[in-house]
Amino acid sequence: MSTVNLVYFSWVRERIGKGEEALDLPADVVTIADLLAHLKTLGEEYESALEHESVIRAAINQEHVGHGEPIAGAREIALFPPMTGG
């Protein structure tokens, strides 16, 4: 088990119902894709927020990463919808 800080933004945050949390992750959660699958087992709010996995963007330690990225060494993982700034 390793502990990682998760942060959520926009409607991912609203649907999960919180902006951040620290979670202990099982050893078989290796990539962002694994993390998404794991979170969806934690309750309906996560299922709803992460239903369409392909649109969810992720960042590890504040850098954009793809879903195949290993999360080993991550202090902070962010999940959010496509960005609409500018």
Partner: protein, 156 residues
Amino acid sequence: MTASVTVRVQREDFDLAAEVAALCHGRSDIGAVVTFSGLCRDEAGALAALELEHYPGMAETEISRICREAVTRFGLQAATAIHRFGRIAPGENIVLVIAASPHRQAAFDGANFVMDFLKTSAPFWKKEHHADGSVGEWLSAKDADDAARDRWSRER
């Protein structure tokens, strides 16, 4: 002279003239300054405000990275990018990008490049508040913005 990059993410408004003056201060080797101001539109009266959420820390880091890439790619002498967050009313500023270079096309391209990547890579999200008092939806990202970003990899 090393190119200077200025990036800020802030709730308060910015002053276009002050930012241009700061960027040009004390140098007379700049030939072209292009500024882009993005403003909140009223959507024909339907919009009361936009609410801008951002990822503190990563927003600054990502915008700085984009600006530095523009400086290198277009040979800019200086670049500034300021992005606001919080509640923004129609007619108010959202974002400012400034690019300076010896010649005009690099300044145009630099500012345009920063905006295209900022739109698709900087961690900001917009939610609409309607004039009738209701809270609207989070805006969806546009395919057109991805296409605008992707043309920069086609062009070279």
